[in-house]
Symmetry: C2
Subunit: 233 residues, 2 copies
């Protein structure tokens, strides 16, 4: 089955306290895009952070930026020059505790939402109520990774679908039982949506249609590998 | 712009020495799928490995499997029980040097193709000649990653498109120059295609249509972060 990934244009700057569900519904309406059951709405976290006022004042002072990052991080894994690899309170490992300046108004840094799974759930509930469509929501951020150059989008919040799909116990084409194949479904959804969202343009919303995913209520924190199972802490 | 990702069904088991381009062209023809300029063909490496005979005999003997992995690995980063995190001759860091049993006929293990970028280039050339369509090719494998649970597909071979897109020097919506935003485009393409390919089913080919990517000839080895720039070796 073909899946389609559509960016939703025309969403303007999002201010503190904005009703993100209402803004997205208006943009979908203007784009004449009618949501269907099973659609996955992929939302960049920066839209969520702005609406939830998860931002910090920033006077272009590097010491201040470092202090904000230190306040957001629960642990520092590595440090090299300006770059610190941190653990966040959610358990995510990422650069600079997710504190980011790009596509932010002057004088503000974006932080990660306080509880992105809950933000996703709230968005999902409001959009379901308004449209009747049984949709899922994935909130994304852009992370680096060891060993491979370049950034990819990953999921930091999920509602209405599993975060991981476990193929253990199913059989391959030769009838053998698959053993260790657990797929990070929502990270693949996040990466796929980034293909239409771009980095320089601010497209905070895309819709993935036609994706065949199992029922279930995952959380992005399901993706966090416990420290004692991690070989690269 | 909407992108579409379509799995191509009906491709049977691929034997050693098979003409992969001919097999794919026949399957595309049967699916009445006409390739267009700019389409990205995403191919699982296992199809390539089988066609190129990049396989090893395997008598279900664990010592033999360990020896094959040791032969494929150029370095061992970590070891825990049966799992070894290795560097391959291509420079990729992955589990078990890419040696894999799933979806392989009895008595064979899949290895990584010798030079997946070259395999991608060969496929691209043959398919362009046959169809006239200026397509790109991405060859994928399924890798784990530190810190986050679950596997995602990544690119191990590329032809006809850049592997990385560098946004440095472009400006964000507030007119500020983006500084460190280099996106792993082909890894996002690989992850996106995996959404229609599945793990238990053997769908070795998907087509990504409508993707807006810059001109350029990348290689998957462009994605390898040099050891001295890597904080997690």
């Amino acid at each position: 089955m073909t899946i389609e990934i559509t960016p939703i244009y025309g969403i303007g700057e999002i201010g503190p306290g904005a009703d993100l569900a209402a803004i997205f519904l208006a943009a979908l309406h203007d784009a004449e895009f009618v949501l269907l059951d099973g659609d996955v709405l992929v939302v960049t976290h920066k839209a969520v952070s702005k609406a939830e006022n998860a931002v910090a004042r920033f006077d272009d002072d590097e010491d201040q930026r470092r202090a904000i990052i230190a306040g957001e991080a629960t642990a520092i894994l590595r440090r090299r020059g300006d770059l610190v690899i941190t653990e966040t309170r959610h358990g995510f490992i990422c650069a600079n505790a997710g504190v980011d300046r790009s596509n932010m108004p002057e004088g503000l840094l974006a932080l990660l939402p306080h509880d992105p799974d809950r933000s996703a759930q709230r968005l999902r509930t409001k959009i379901r109520r308004a449209t009747g469509a049984d949709i899922a929501v994935v909130i994304t951020d852009t992370f680096g990774r060891p060993w491979r150059k370049g950034l990819t989008d990953v999921a930091i919040g999920v509602a209405g679908m599993p975060a991981l799909v476990d193929y253990r116990g199913t059989t391959d084409t030769f009838g053998r039982t698959l053993t260790v194949t657990e797929v990070a479904l929502v990270d693949e959804v996040a990466a796929a949506a980034d293909l239409v969202m771009g980095k320089a343009k601010s497209v905070p919303l895309a819709v993935v249609r036609g994706l065949d995913y199992p029922a279930g209520e995952g959380r992005a924190t399901d993706l966090v590998r416990p420290a004692d199972e991690d070989m690269f802490r």
